[in-house]
């Protein structure tokens, strides 16, 4: 039996620790089992290739998720096969640079409750978000990364992370407080 090189053994040990997290996240990102497997594999192959750049003792999960998010975004850019997947360039009017108006976003009646939401409705509403809102919300609320890590993963400023998460949540609230019968 041949011995496994030390760097590969170290990588495999870390990868195995986060493998199901990565697979779960890949599944939520791609919404497709086969694509999720491909994304996880591509991510780990790329991560292994760049493993020399990983500093032991730092946050492996954030490091490998960054690779996964980049891999996903690049694959979406290449494929551009989902109409709802839009550009990752800054959305006009979104930014803190003055065009974004929270007042316009906040027309939802209070009192409509989000409590006791069936997971399926929430999942469907999340799946229907455009990627530039869906991925930051996923990374924040599902994967529980801080804004600073998300900014690094997506290569966007902290303020943009915050506004995308906010706008993503606004859209989710709007979708979830609609009459379930009228939801598509």
């Amino acid at each position: 039996m041949t011995s496994v090189p030390a760097s590969r053994a170290a990588f495999e040990s870390l990868a195995l620790q986060y493998l199901s997290d990565l697979m779960g996240s890949a599944l939520r990102m791609t919404r497709n089992w086969e694509e999720a497997q491909d994304l996880t594999q591509d991510t780990l192959v790329r991560a292994f290739r760049g493993f020399k750049g990983f500093q032991p003792g730092t946050n492996f999960k954030a490091w490998v998720f960054r690779i996964m998010v980049n891999t996903y975004i690049n694959s979406q850019r290449r494929a551009a096969r989902r109409p709802r997947t839009v550009s990752w360039e800054d959305v006009p009017g979104e930014s803190e640079a003055g065009g974004f108006d929270p007042l316009a976003e906040d027309s939802q009646p209070e009192g409509s409750t989000l409590a006791d939401l069936p997971d399926e409705r929430l999942k469907r509403a999340l799946d229907d978000l455009p990627d530039e809102f869906r991925v930051p919300v996923l990374l924040c609320d599902v994967e529980e990364f801080p804004y600073k890590d998300i900014a690094r993963m997506l290569g966007i400023p902290l303020g943009t992370v915050r506004s995308r998460i906010f706008r993503g949540r606004q859209r989710l609230r709007e979708a979830l407080t609609q009459d379930p019968g009228s939801a598509s």
């Binding site: 590969r8 493993f51 803190e96 640079a97 409750t113 989000l114 409590a115 996923l138 906010f166 949540r169």
Partner: protein
């Protein structure tokens, strides 16, 4: 903290390779800081750059010359450059943090490719209180200067005039500069907040806006979302908490964000991993090149 209170020196090279802040209420104090640093930087072959109002150049040149730093020849040779805010921070009539950070990176590269040993820059930002579009990202921008590649070859001296600076902003600015100039000495800044563990205290874009407890409820929604995530600076957090105690509508909205966040967190389930997947991946890794080789 000993290292934070140890003076690094009265000026000269202490401002090189560093991000420094100074709060003064008098232009003469700013020239006192700049002259020895620019003099040393020029002697070391650095490019020096000052960004100011177009009327500032003759005043700056005379003030530096009066302090033993003659920039006449360096201005001609290009080793000392003067640019206006309109040419830099305010291109197109607004402040774009990303564009400006890119510009610093390019300026450092350009200095090196012109044969200079580094870049030593300073600026006056009196336009900041004029509520220029995009200036709400100023604190984020200042923080991100610390993350510029090659900062060791770039010195950035941020000189704030306390006559025009809102009082609450100075301590927030202090948090984003690793060095501070005070009492004629450059010191490591004990207030500097660095590292991911303090990310929540890195000021974000809202910080040049009115206090949260004076914002209309609808505008507070953006802050509520970040509040739920624990991603507001302490001062903002306290303001939002005060607003929430007095406003049922926002308290209800906060609750809906919390419910949504909890619902989303419940979607976090591990993905199924088949043994075949892991075996195939291991084989793939084994067949590829060893990255440590």
């Amino acid at each position: 903290m000993d290292s934070a209170t140890e003076p690094l020196g009265p000026g000269p090279s202490a401002g090189l390779g560093r991000h420094l802040v100074s709060f003064t209420d008098h232009a003469e104090d700013r020239f006192d800081l700049l002259a020895p640093i620019f003099r040393a930087a020029l002697a070391q072959g650095c490019r020096c750059l000052f960004i100011g109002h177009r009327t500032t150049l003759p005043v700056l040149r005379d003030a530096l010359a009066g302090r033993g730093c003659d920039v006449t020849d360096p201005l001609v040779s290009g080793q000392f450059r003067f640019l206006t805010a309109e040419e830099t921070y305010l291109q197109g009539g607004c402040f774009d943090a990303d564009r400006m950070l890119d510009s610093w990176g390019r300026a450092a590269v350009s200095a090196r490719s012109d044969g200079c040993s580094g870049l030593c820059a300073s600026a006056e930002v009196t336009w900041l209180h004029q509520r220029v579009p995009g200036s709400d990202r100023w604190l984020e921008y200042e923080y991100r200067i610390n993350e510029l590649d090659g900062l060791d070859q770039v010195g950035v001296m941020c000189l704030y005039d306390t006559n025009t600076l809102p009082a609450w902003l100075a301590p927030e600015l202090a948090k984003v500069h690793p060095l501070i100039h005070a009492d004629g000495m450059v010191r490591a800044n004990a207030e500097f907040a660095s590292g991911a563990d303090q990310a929540a205290d890195v000021p974000l874009a809202e910080d040049l806006e009115p206090a949260a407890d004076r914002l209309p409820c609808a505008q507070l929604a953006l802050l509520l979302s970040a509040y739920v995530d624990g991603q507001l600076i302490r001062r903002r957090r306290d303001e939002v908490a005060r607003h929430l105690r007095a406003c049922e509508v926002c308290a209800e909205k906060l609750e809906s964000y919390r419910t949504l966040k909890a619902g989303l967190a419940s979607l976090r389930t591990p993905g199924p991993v088949t043994p075949g997947f892991w075996d195939a991946l291991r084989a793939h890794l084994a067949n590829g090149p060893d990255p440590s080789a």
